[in-house]
């Protein structure tokens, strides 16, 4: 009986919240207030839309991995809505939110979906590469997680100058302090899953790395589309010219972090002997 009353109350609250979201808000502050009170409703709504999209495109399975994937993207859409929606006032928040999600789902590949990327190792790599697209800290940390490099090696491999070098050390520090944990939380990786990944890295290094290379290529192929579109793969001579002339600092940092092949191609062209002769191989690191 009590349970039924509780459920009825929740339903009533939900209805009130939705009807409030359907009304016009006139100012950014009003938008913040109304939306912040309706976050669970909006998150469930966005998650529901994402699930429907996955079902309709034949990418859905009834398991926790898919549920987490839908939740992750639902929260991603909601975050963008919270920030951008307040510039759209006056508006009806619910309709604006629906249109934003619909716009995302009308893109050719709204998110990076691959069944193997829903498993712990896949989610770990997907999380790292996805974060690298929006965070310079994660981008620089990708060199560490892919090859085990520290700041010095990253600076040497990308041929950076003094000023940029300082930034690399900062990126590393911030990633260790908070970035890595935030990313793992966003991907829904539990402590147990991370411990299992570390264990696999120790015990079955070769298999772990080869599986990692296969999955990271899938993720990189998707997310590299998000780097500036004038950053294509280059030949060794083009890389050499860029390194020796000292231009394209951003190009080097962004592209090389997101392209395993170009790291091989450009290896050593601007290092002046500070790097080893042997080309780098993927050596996945779980911890920052």
């Amino acid at each position: 009986m009590q349970n039924t009353v509780g459920k009825s109350q929740v339903m009533a609250d939900h209805t009130v919240t939705v009807s409030r979201l359907e009304e016009v808000v006139s100012t950014a502050d009003e938008f913040d207030r109304v939306v912040s009170q309706a976050l669970p409703v909006l998150l469930d709504r966005a998650t529901g839309y994402t699930k429907r999209f996955l079902r309709e495109t034949g990418q859905w399975n009834d398991d926790i991995e898919h549920e987490k994937f839908a939740l992750r993207w639902g929260s991603e859409y909601l975050e963008r809505f919270l920030v951008c929606g307040r510039t759209e006032v006056p508006c009806r928040p619910l309709f604006l939110f629906d249109s934003l999600v619909a716009k995302q789902h009308s893109k050719p590949e709204p998110f990076c979906y691959h069944p193997d990327l829903l498993r712990p190792l896949g989610r770990f790599l997907d999380g790292l590469v996805a974060r690298a697209v929006v965070s310079r800290d994660a981008l620089i940390a990708l060199y560490h997680h892919s090859y085990g490099w520290g700041p010095g090696e990253v600076i040497a491999a990308t041929g950076l100058n003094g000023l940029e070098s300082q930034r690399i050390y900062k990126n590393f520090r911030r990633w260790r302090d908070s970035g890595w944990q935030r990313t793992m939380d966003e991907m829904g990786l539990t402590k147990a899953e991370l411990a299992e990944l570390s264990s696999q890295q120790q015990r079955h290094r070769q298999r772990f790395n080869s599986e990692g290379e296969r999955l990271i290529r899938v993720a990189q192929a998707h997310y590299r589309k998000s780097e500036p579109d004038h950053y294509p793969c280059l030949s060794r001579s083009q890389w050499r010219e860029m390194f020796t002339q000292g231009y394209g600092c951003d190009y080097r940092i962004w592209h090389l972090a997101l392209c395993l092949d170009c790291v091989q191609t450009a290896w050593g062209v601007g290092s002046n002997g500070s790097l080893t002769e042997e080309k780098p191989r993927l050596e996945l690191q779980v911890r920052p």
Binding site: V83, C84, L100, R182, D185, T190, E227, P228
Partner: protein, 425 residues
């Protein structure tokens, strides 16, 4: 942990993360702000207390703009309109970023400007200036008046502080006994007063420096105003010259349109109201028109020449034919006229041809003792016929000679029976 619990934990963690939006306060003071257009990174704004700007031109429409920290936290964003402008000021800690996005059919453009928070001194200064604004009399030039009021207020403040300092010093010098009486406290007081003095001096120094800065800023502002005026003057003069050029071109066009037929008029008349933008096109059209006219004139001239040549050839041919068929010059002339009438297209160079159609008339006197018979025979030889006789001069009409008249007369004069010859009576 079961399936449901794990999922619920993840959902709660996501909700918590969303409700604790750290966005507006997490950015480090000197960290650049990453700018994303349509979820692609396009550049960064330096956030080190200077006014940094970023201009992005996109071939595609701009849909979204996002500002993120180096660790990827979303600081703010904007959804761009399909067409037209949208501006937004996004607060980032105490600083702000001003975004202006413009979408057109050709693509989108974004202007982002970092606006640092005003420093302590600039805030204080603003407050003082506001007070001064309230006290001072308003003048028409508000920008200069504002600066002048600020300077005046600063100077007054500086003067008060200097007077206070001098009074303080004088008090100490005028009461040395008091200083001696309180020997026990003197050391401490001296320390305090020296400290205060140092503080005051420091503040005075600060004020002097600020005053200097204000002076410099005022000077720069005045220079800027002067430059602005110059630029405005240049702009207006260039505008005038452009406008006058347009008027000239229009006049020229009208003149030409009057001279040329209606078809040409249609071809060259510019669409009404196109204004300055079409000036170049108008000039080009005028030039083309002039060239076309010149070409047409050349063609007409060449046609006329060709007609003359053709007419001469026809004439020669007729004469040859007449010679062969009919020796009678009168019939020849009559038949010539007849042919002329029939041959209308050859009348292009009418004046020239008419001189050739009429018989050649000249006057001649014969040597004394020349018989009338000899004269008649000579006239016959010339295929002419005699006209009136006036004061010894005999009028003779012949078929126009093939040689020029002067040369013809010279030839006649050289003949035995001819004494003199002339064209005019």
């Amino acid at each position: 942990m079961g399936y449901e619990e794990e999922l619920e934990a993840y959902r709660s963690q996501r909700l918590e993360s969303l409700s604790n939006q750290p966005s507006r306060s997490v950015r480090g003071g000197s960290d650049p702000i990453q700018v994303y257009v349509n979820e692609r990174r396009v550049g960064e704004l330096e956030g080190v207390g200077v006014d940094a700007t970023l201009h992005v031109k996109n071939l595609e429409h701009i849909e979204t703009i996002q500002l993120r920290t180096e660790d990827g936290i979303l600081l703010g964003g904007l959804v761009a309109p399909e067409y037209g402008y949208r501006t937004s000021r996004i607060q980032v800690s105490s600083d702000a970023v001003e975004l202006c996005v413009h979408n057109t059919a050709q693509g989108g453009a974004l202007n982002a400007a970092f606006v640092p928070a005003p420093s302590y001194w600039s805030r204080t200064w603003k407050a003082l200036a506001d007070v001064a604004d309230r006290l001072a009399i308003r003048r028409p030039d508000t920008a200069i008046a504002h600066s002048m009021r600020t300077v005046a207020f600063t100077q007054a403040l500086l003067a008060i502080l200097v007077v206070g300092l001098v009074v303080d010093r004088m008090t100490i010098w005028m009461n040395p006994e008091r200083m001696l009486v309180s020997v026990g406290q003197s050391e401490a007081l001296r320390t305090v007063s020296v400290t205060e003095m140092e503080k005051l001096e420091h503040q005075l120094g600060e004020l002097a420096r600020i005053q200097e800065k204000v002076g410099t800023a005022l000077e720069t502002q005045q220079k800027g105003m002067a430059q602005l005026h110059q630029t405005m003057a240049k702009l207006s003069s260039s505008h005038e010259s452009v406008a006058s050029s347009v008027v000239m071109v229009k006049e020229e066009m009208e003149k030409r349109q009057e001279g040329i037929g209606s078809e040409t008029e249609r071809a060259t008349k510019p669409p009404a109201g196109r204004g300055l933008v079409d000036q170049d096109q108008l000039e080009l059209a005028v030039r083309n028109l002039v060239e076309d006219n010149a070409k047409l004139s050349r063609e007409v001239a060449s046609l006329e020449e060709r007609n003359v040549t053709l007419a001469a050839q026809v004439q020669t041919a007729r004469m040859t034919a007449s010679k062969a068929e009919d020796p009678n010059p009168e019939r020849l002339l009559a038949s010539q006229e007849d042919v002329e009438r029939k041959n209308q297209p050859l009348r292009v160079a009418e004046g020239l041809q008419s001189s050739q159609k009429q018989p050649f008339l000249f006057w001649v006197t014969f040597s004394e003792g020349t018989s009338q018979e000899s004269i008649d025979q000579w006239v016959h030889e010339k295929r002419g016929h005699k006209g009136a006789v006036n004061e010894g001069w005999q009028e003779v009409r012949i078929v126009p000679p093939a040689v020029p008249p002067d040369l013809f007369l010279e030839q006649i004069r050289g003949e035995k029976i001819v004494k003199a010859a002339r064209i005019r009576e």
